[in-house]
């Protein structure tokens, strides 16, 4: 049991010196850590009318992301992507967002949120394994053990958003 031996080490070194202890192995990042990284990266491939700074990324519904992950990711992208995460409580607040991630807890209520955002310059992202819901623009899916994404270009264009061709190259295009 590595952690027991670690405890001993730490007792020996004193708590403050323990910073140097090598774990040997650790928890991997979770699926949602990775999804959070995707959300943040999308901000760099899309142009909004008026070029908002920072780009507001809203998580709507039960927040599946760890706060520590979000702050670490934001710090890592400092200087490259200027974005902020928000967690609105009510669907009417979503129009102030540039990117909206609709959490799976909202699956039954997608239609309503999407109707509210119709044609607004908001990038709507979901992660529904069974396919891109109507009105959503990007859907995160798992394929052969990798995280991929689908894009519905017509809804993106209707929302007056410009998407970089590089993003389209990486995506699965849904007609």
């Amino acid at each position: 049991m590595t952690c027991v031996s670690m405890l001993k080490k730490i007792a020996a070194l004193g708590l403050l010196l323990a910073l140097t202890v090598n774990a040997g192995f650790a928890d991997s990042v979770t699926e949602y850590d990775l999804k959070a990284a995707y959300l943040l990266n999308f901000a760099g491939y899309v142009e909004w009318p008026g070029s908002p700074k920072p780009v507001t990324i809203c998580v709507y519904g039960d927040n599946p992301f760890k706060a520590a992950t979000i702050s670490t990711l934001l710090a890592a992208k400092t200087g490259q992507i200027d974005a902020a995460f928000k967690y609105p409580l009510h669907s009417t607040q979503l129009t102030d967002c540039n990117i909206v991630y609709l959490a799976q807890s909202e699956q039954d209520r997608f239609d309503k949120a999407i109707a509210l955002l119709r044609n607004a310059p908001v990038l709507i992202i979901t992660d529904i394994q069974d396919g891109l819901p109507e009105g959503a623009m990007i859907n995160l899916i798992t394929e052969s053990n990798r995280l991929r994404f689908e894009i519905n270009i017509s809804t993106v264009l209707a929302a007056k958003l410009k998407i970089s061709s590089k993003l389209l190259k990486l995506a699965k295009i849904v007609p």
Partner: protein
């Protein structure tokens, strides 16, 4: 009860061919840092392990007006040891301890005499209030270790329209962690004041075939503090210093498994507590009095979406409760043994067939078998009470959540309960109106009726001894009507403010009356209560959290002839709570600060001074699979006396705890 969510959760393996170093620094922040530095193309090469859909989680918040949710991050960072520790930080709640149990006060009503029977305590939606006294334990007698809890949902207000009996002032649901949260084993140990030791071993996993399981065992031993019991003072012992007899020995086991549409969970807990005596007429010192509560539960559940718009849930449950009390009064030993077991079935249908409607219908049946109550008095042994009863209860419930307009939602619900213990059937309706006035402003209006049945102990327990207690089998359920108005406001981005005003009227309160030295439970007159609860919350991106609450409480006995000192007295007019946790120095260090300020309480006998109770906890995670923490409870040593008995009940005051948890 409504809203089942599917969370396909996975673990990731970083298959970073050539991208990253072969890896020595595996600290959490660094790993997320690594994916933080990748571009989209690199992210797409990160390999995932298997993806399988797993179970739902129950959403209490959708049926409620006033809910506080406390997650595992708070349980860990504030160093909460029991459900009591969690509840003391929730607006409207306070905890008292009478050296036997922790009791929760809600909205001004102390529950010491009711064994927390005026609130419903559930684990994953499974009723924990047992069938003899209806106690909803919040101390270690609750058969689960708080470390296994994902989050605690606390609903203030009536819940009988869905849950029936005991959902009177509040409903508390503890959602447990799943196997996949463990990725293997976890060992935890703690050492605290008064020779207190606690150990836990847990193991949980999710297998590739979709089976998610976990099992855990906990042991707890404490010598307990020696106390100064003013009531027990004698010339030889001027401070009434107790010599131990305040010990506690607990065990908790828990297991759960999830596979496809089926889930199983079960648990067992046993708590032995020594009673130092000197209070309530119990003999002081050795030989000591003691009590022991054991409770077990098993739940088997099947849940399936019959169609995209129809969810079906069926569950079968079993429970067992055993109590052994040995009390010494004036040299006599009174042994009280009770035992009950129960089984039952619940079925629910959740439909979204009609546009703008979410319909929930269900039926719950519980049979209580052989509710045994035995008591004898020695020496010489004479059996004072020995009986056994079977009882049952049946509840049918219906709820419709409607979208009247985009901004206005109406929720109508009702439950009809029939219990063999009482001739009367109970009808518990609830009406809720949610109005979203502005994007950041929501108003909620709610009316609800709730009830608490008389317990089998109140109806059938008679002991002629010291003190004498006689049964009263003509009791009726007590009922409560509650109206509340809540205002929820978000502002300045991440701040959330909630103000709730309530008015409640209690009818036929079950209280204790004493005539000619005999205590018996009777239906008293009415009481009213009103007040306000205010909560302010903010969460920061780095994981910091501020949660603060203030409650103003008024409660009045409308029938003061039958003054029951345990309920309507000892109402703290003001209750203030502050909780703040934050990362310190680096993400490896986290600190938690919590404070409860309770105003003084007055009863017929005495006035108990107010207190300021401060807790501090420091959490250090040198590596991802090791947590070390150190906590101080009641730092100011101010919570020294709780109301009860002639001169109050001494508390333990300042204590500390050191804890570690490691995962492998």
């Amino acid at each position: 009860m409504t809203g089942f969510i599917h969370h396909p959760k996975t673990r990731l393996r970083l298959a970073l061919t050539g991208l990253l170093l072969a890896a020595s620094i595996k600290v959490f922040a660094t790993e997320v840092n690594e994916i933080g530095r990748m571009d989209l193309e690199q992210l797409m090469s990160v390999e995932l392990e298997t993806v399988t859909a797993s179970k739902y989680s129950q959403k209490l918040s959708e049926t409620a007006s006033s809910v506080t949710v406390i997650g595992k991050d708070q349980i860990q960072q504030f160093g909460y040891r029991t459900l009591s520790d969690v509840l003391r930080t929730v607006p409207g709640f306070f905890i008292t301890n009478n050296r036997a149990y922790d009791n929760a006060g809600v909205r001004g009503f102390d529950q010491s005499a009711a064994y927390n029977g005026r609130m419903l305590v559930m684990i994953d939606g499974i009723r924990m209030n047992e069938a003899i006294y209806d106690s909803g334990f919040t101390d270690n007698a609750l058969p689960i270790d708080i470390d296994l809890i994902e989050r605690v949902e606390v609903l203030r207000g009536p819940g009988s329209s869905l849950y029936g009996n005991n959902a009177f002032f509040a409903v508390i649901n503890l959602i447990t962690k799943q196997g996949k949260d463990y990725h293997g084993g976890e060992l935890a140990g703690a050492w605290g004041s008064f020779d207190t030791y606690k150990g836990r071993a847990s193991y949980g996993r999710k297998l590739d075939n979709g089976l998610d399981f976990m099992a855990s065992a906990t042991g707890f031993n404490s010598e307990g503090p020696s106390l100064r019991v003013p009531e027990a003072a004698t010339p030889d012992n001027p401070f009434g210093e107790s010599s131990g007899a305040n010990n506690e020995h607990d065990k908790q086991f828990f297991a759960k498994a999830n596979w496809g549409d089926f889930s199983f969970e079960g648990g067992y807990g046993r708590r032995f507590k020594g009673i130092p005596g000197g209070i309530f007429g119990v003999d002081f010192g050795t030989p000591a009095s003691s009590l022991q509560d054991s409770e077990a539960f098993v739940n088997l559940q099947y849940q399936k979406a019959l169609s995209p718009k129809l969810d079906f849930t069926a569950r079968a449950f079993y429970g067992d409760f055993d109590f052994k009390g040995q009390y010494r009064y004036g040299g006599l030993l009174i042994s009280n043994f009770t035992h009950a077991w129960w089984s039952g079935l619940e079925m629910r249908l959740l439909s979204s067939h009609f546009d703008g409607h979410k319909l929930l219908a269900g039926v719950e049946v519980q049979e209580n078998w052989q509710l045994q109550q035995y008591a004898d008095i020695a020496p010489p042994t004479s059996v004072a009470q020995d009986d056994s009863n079977d009882t049952h209860r049946i509840g049918i419930f219906l709820q419709d959540d409607m979208d009247l307009t985009e901004r206005l939602k109406l929720s109508l619900g009702a439950r009809f309960d029939d219990t063999s213990l009482s001739s009367q059937s109970m009808f518990s309706p609830r009406v809720g109106l949610v109005y979203q006035m502005l994007a950041d402003t929501v108003f909620k209006l709610q009316y609800g009726k709730a009830f608490r049945s008389p317990t089998i102990a109140q109806q059938f327990y008679t002991v002629y001894g010291v003190p004498s207690q006689i049964a009263n089998n003509g009791l009726q359920s007590e009922q409560i009507d509650t109206v509340s108005l809540a205002w929820e406001q978000a502002f300045a981005g991440n701040w959330h403010f909630t103000a709730t005003g309530y008015y409640l009227k209690l009818n036929k309160r079950l209280g204790v009356e004493e005539t000619d030295g005999f205590q018996h439970t009777v239906n008293l007159g009415g009481d009213i209560g009103y007040g306000g609860e205010f909560e302010l919350q903010r969460r920061w991106d780095n994981g910091a959290l501020l949660r603060s609450g203030y409650s103003l409480v008024f409660a009045k006995d409308l029938d003061p002839v039958h003054m029951d000192p345990d309920v309507l007295s000892n109402v703290p007019r003001h209750l203030y709570q502050l909780n703040f946790m934050t990362p310190l120095f680096s993400p490896k260090w986290r600190g938690g600060f919590d404070m409860q300020v309770l105003a003084s309480r007055t009863s017929l006998q005495r006035k108990t001074p107010g207190y300021t109770r401060v807790g501090l906890n420091l959490l250090y995670q040198p590596v991802t699979n090791l947590d070390l923490s150190a906590g101080v409870y009641d730092l100011l040593d101010d919570n020294r006396l709780e109301p009860g008995g002639g001169s109050g009940i001494p508390q333990e005051g300042r204590t500390f705890r050191l804890k570690f948890a490691c995962r492998f």
